[in-house]
């Protein structure tokens, strides 16, 4: 961004050190305030050393910080606190003793077959949804990136499921995947019996396919943006070296969008772990027989319907640890050096 030759300050002697400083900050943006203090420590007055060059930044960020404290930090602490208690709802203002139960909620999480089932369901979901999402969105994004005619039409049609409410599209997929629905009519004798969403084996994979269909537009958008930032010269030099389009796709495009791929992996995993609306509506509350229950659906049933928020909070904490482990593994195997 800031090239030495084009920097407006670089021509003037007196401003040169300022220009150098700015450039250093752009490159190492994460350490910017430290470096400004270190390099310019003797030159800058005390208030700059204490608050940085633009203390207004703290004011601009204040609403966000307050929001994070109220909506994230405090509830997060509250969730952890709750998970160690036999917490239950009372009328507002009533003071009751909610007994401390130590790790009992967590012990229950790991011994409850329904919870284990829901975590297995998430794994089934992720194994189907995540690779499918990454492959399909990268292929469709690069097809879209090179197309000239009807580009807007294709983009719009890919994004439309993503921008539409889950509840609305669930309505039509319930209709399509019904026992006598259009999908089974088309499949004829190949139609599964019992039908997709009431079949214990197929319920979760069907949800995974539905979520892939629903969210793909967003990931295509991400990959499209990433593809457009891959320098065109790379393709040209690859072509000069004799690489065909397929070779260019695997040798230039795929490595070029690696940061986006890592992001997509992470986002798809988080989406999968947070599944709620789909099992709640598509399979009528995680049926058949819990075959498509998700942890968040269990949290809702336990925490709010049955009034055990402490237990639900414990499920939530275990779920987050589970997602973190998966995300770390993904980052280790797909993230590269960054």
């Amino acid at each position: 961004m800031t090239r030495p030759g084009t920097h407006p300050d670089s021509g003037r002697d007196g401003e040169r050190s300022q220009g150098e400083l700015e450039r250093g900050e752009v490159v190492g943006a994460r350490h910017a305030p430290d470096s400004s203090i270190r390099t310019g420590g003797s030159k800058h007055p005390l208030h700059i050393r204490l608050f940085g060059r633009n203390p207004l930044g703290a004011l601009f960020s204040a609403p966000y910080l307050v929001f994070v404290a109220i909506v994230f930090a405090y509830p997060l602490g509250f969730a952890v606190y709750m998970s160690f208690f036999d917490y239950f709802f009372t009328a507002p203002g009533a003071h009751v003793n909610r007994p401390f139960v130590g790790l009992a909620n967590f012990v229950q999480v790991f011994t409850d077959p329904a919870v284990m089932q829901s975590f297995l369901n998430v794994l089934v979901f992720l194994v189907i949804n995540v690779p499918l999402t990454v492959v399909l969105s990268i292929v469709l994004a690069s097809a879209l990136n090179s197309v000239v005619h009807a580009r807007a039409f294709f983009s719009v049609s890919f994004y439309i499921p993503y921008v539409t409410a889950s509840v609305a599209v669930i309505g039509v997929w319930l209709f399509l995947l019904n026992q006598n629905g259009l999908v089974n009519q088309l499949l004829g004798p190949l139609a599964p019996d019992p039908s997709w969403l009431i079949n214990p084996v197929l319920a979760m994979p069907t949800i995974a396919l539905f979520v892939t269909w629903k969210g793909l537009g967003f990931y295509i958008l991400l990959f499209l943006a990433a593809l457009q930032s891959v320098p065109g010269e790379l393709y040209e030099s690859a072509a000069t070296d004799g690489a065909g389009k397929v070779r260019q796709f695997f040798s230039v495009s795929v490595p070029g969008v690696r940061p986006a791929t890592v992001l997509v992996l992470l986002l798809a995993t988080i989406t999968g772990a947070n599944l709620f609306t789909e099992p709640y509506l598509l399979t009528g509350g995680g049926g058949p027989n819990g075959a498509s229950t998700s942890p968040v659906l269990l949290m809702y049933q336990q925490g709010i319907e049955q009034g055990h928020p402490g237990y639900a909070a414990a499920i939530g904490i275990v779920l987050v640890v589970f997602v973190l482990i998966i995300a770390l593994l993904q980052n280790r195997f797909a993230g590269g050096r960054e």
């Binding site: 961004m1 800031t2 994460r30 910017a32 305030p33 940085g52 633009n54 203390p55 930044g57 703290a58 601009f60 960020s61 609403p63 966000y64 929001f67 909506v71 994230f72 405090y74 509830p75 509250f78 969730a79 709750m82 507002p92 469709l140 690069s142 097809a143 807007a152 039409f153 294709f154 983009s155 049609s157 890919f158 499921p161 921008v163 539409t164 409410a165 889950s166 509840v167 609305a168 599209v169 309505g171 039509v172 006598n180 259009l182 088309l186 389009k245 796709f249 988080i270 772990a273 947070n274 709620f276 709640y280 968040v296 925490g303 928020p309 909070a313 779920l319 987050v320 997602v323 973190l324």
Partner: protein, 311 residues
């Protein structure tokens, strides 16, 4: 995958057939680095199948919502004059109150949009452009907050907002957890980072204040990005189901997504044509977003800010 050489139809053809595309290529001055014909064809097929898979359910939603009795045969996918009716819309309206639902969705969405844009731009600008102590810590916090899934906070937020603050069945309670989106802060930061630093340095040398820099220099430059962020943020609360579902029990306060979902899970079994009514409700819920999206699609799709800043 993207077109094997064997898929090119004219490679095994006769001389005259093979020379035609070469001639055409010469006439159009196509660069050497373009797709072969077979690859272009395959790309087209992939894109058209994709478009069909994505669009068909929406078409089917509309058709299904207009059918007197649900016709699930393949012929039912085409409009049939004798089987068309608006009765499903009247049926769903009498059960869940479409207008109330739309108004509630609108208020919820509007509140979230306002908070997200105003506070998100301020925080994003502070993180991207300004140098202040605590910036790194704040940026780390924005990233950290992404890691915390809403579902972990769902239970404590429900206890706090619905039980302790008494904000159940209240717009404020609906909006509060989404009043500022950390993703939006990151997006705004990214947009502001892409602006050349020289611009800010020059304006500062000219004596512009920081507020003036934000309002007069930075914001106009990222306006397309701002519209994009606005439209993208609009989708979230309009379509959101889980939180408004938890916090609203009174039907008069429920956004349309919640009342329709309740209809799907509870009432549908007792209706004469449940699928027709569900699909009619789905059309009403989907229509505003689809319309906004179609009109604003160039903002959704021109996600690359690069051209607007560099050009």
């Amino acid at each position: 995958m993207m077109g094997q050489p064997t898929a090119i139809p004219d490679q095994n053809g006769t001389n005259s057939a093979a020379s035609r595309p070469v001639l055409r290529r010469k006439r159009k001055h196509r660069p050497a680095n373009s797709l072969s014909r077979g690859q272009t064809l395959l790309r087209g097929v992939v894109l058209i199948i994709g478009a069909f898979v994505f669009l068909f359910p929406f078409y089917y939603m509309l058709i299904g919502s207009l059918q007197t009795s649900p016709d699930t045969t393949i012929a039912g996918a085409f409009p049939e004059p004798g089987n068309l009716t608006l009765a499903n819309y009247a049926a769903i309206n009498s059960r869940i109150g479409l207008l109330t639902g739309l108004v509630n969705s609108g208020i919820f969405t509007g509140g979230v949009l306002l908070g997200t844009v105003v506070f998100g731009v301020l925080a994003g600008y502070a993180l991207a452009v300004l140098q202040w102590r605590g910036r790194d810590a704040t940026f780390a916090l924005v990233l950290l907050v992404q890691v915390v899934p809403f579902q972990l906070l769902m239970i404590p937020l429900y206890v706090l907002i619905a039980r302790d603050y008494g904000l159940a069945d209240n717009y404020l309670g609906m909006i509060l957890p989404f009043a500022i989106s950390s993703v939006a802060v990151l997006i705004f930061r990214q947009y502001f980072m892409q602006l050349p630093r020289e611009l800010f340095d020059a304006a500062r040398i000219d004596g512009a204040s920081e507020l003036r820099l934000l309002w007069g220099v930075a914001l106009p430059l990222v306006r397309p990005a701002l519209v994009t962020a606005l439209l993208v943020t609009f989708i979230g609360p309009w379509n959101d189901f889980l939180w408004p579902f938890l916090i609203t029990k009174e039907t008069s306060m429920q956004p349309l997504a919640v009342s329709l979902a309740n209809y799907i899970s509870n009432v549908a079994s007792s209706a004469a044509n449940p699928f027709g009514a569900i699909l009619a409700g789905a059309c009403v819920l989907a229509a505003p977003v689809v319309v906004v999206f179609l009109f604003g699609q160039r903002y959704f799709i021109s996600a690359d800010l690069g051209s607007s800043v560099k050009g």
